[in-house]
Symmetry: C2
Subunit: 165 residues, 2 copies
């Protein structure tokens, strides 16, 4: 089946036959799919009264395991946002009672963000919903294809994740 990127690439080949636009076949699909996923996630989370950004922070803390706490800096690297954004997010989550801010006992500059019980429950519920929805999207592919796809994507993400980037 044809997709929007096929049309996009065909248009470039017509307009700029001198250029090799092969890279777009992969990377434009990644960008566009990510936007579609954002919208789908937003919808899935709205059932749990959570915004995508709230989910990102809450689940980062949830994954850390007991006692469910991380520094803002650790949250930055996991969520790929800037520090100003994270400050703002923590403020709002704290106001909603889903996290609390504690002084870091071992570094007086630092802060620890801890998930509240309610925050943990909300994260767990939203994760279940998200996985269900993602499984539906991935039903297009066989198990083997999904594994293949994951492996190829890993080769592209690894340099970003490991080099300072």
């Amino acid at each position: 089946m044809e997709d929007e990127v096929d049309r996009l690439v065909a248009a470039w080949r017509r307009e700029r036959p001198d250029l090799d636009v092969e890279p777009l076949e992969v990377l434009s699909r990644v960008s566009r799919l990510a936007r579609h996923l954002d919208r789908a996630r937003r919808l899935a989370f709205s059932e749990h009264q959570l915004e995508p950004w709230e989910f990102d922070v809450l689940t980062a803390l949830r994954r850390a395991g007991t006692p469910y706490q991380l520094s803002p800096g650790q949250l930055l690297t996991q969520t790929l946002v800037t520090s100003g954004t994270m400050t703002n997010r923590i403020d709002r989550l704290a106001k909603k009672g889903l996290v609390e801010r504690l002084p870091d006992p071992s570094d007086r500059r630092g802060v620890l963000v801890r998930l509240t019980d309610e925050g943990r429950d909300r994260a767990d519920q939203a994760l279940a919903g998200l996985l269900e929805q993602e499984r539906a999207i991935l039903a297009e592919l066989s198990r083997a294809q999904r594994a293949e796809l994951a492996g190829l994507l890993r080769q592209l993400t690894a340099p970003f994740d490991n080099i300072p980037g």
Copy 2:
């Protein structure tokens, strides 16, 4: 090589062994890779004094071919933004002299957005720069792997692009 999603998935398997988090292997990589690409694109475009959003609009018009004009509505569907956003983008591009707004001769509600000569040149230059950068990112994969990856991604994007979505 391991990436951030491997660590993320491992953490979920430890914290929620009851859940099947396999979908994340694919879709979390897509989302994270897209964010990395956004940043890389922003950097690549800054050499040409263009923002990513400007590139998106300009190249949509460029791909349309002579006379390089589309309606705001057509631009919406190609760039996946809302109409308010597109109005704002067109305003700013017009102010910079990269596009101009013309009345649609066949529908008095409508407007046509046309690329200026300078807009076309800037789009062409930025595209060349982007492709160069994307080629570097994709050098991790063989030609056959890139084709494989593109095909798998197409299967996921096609439903979004073809069904009303």
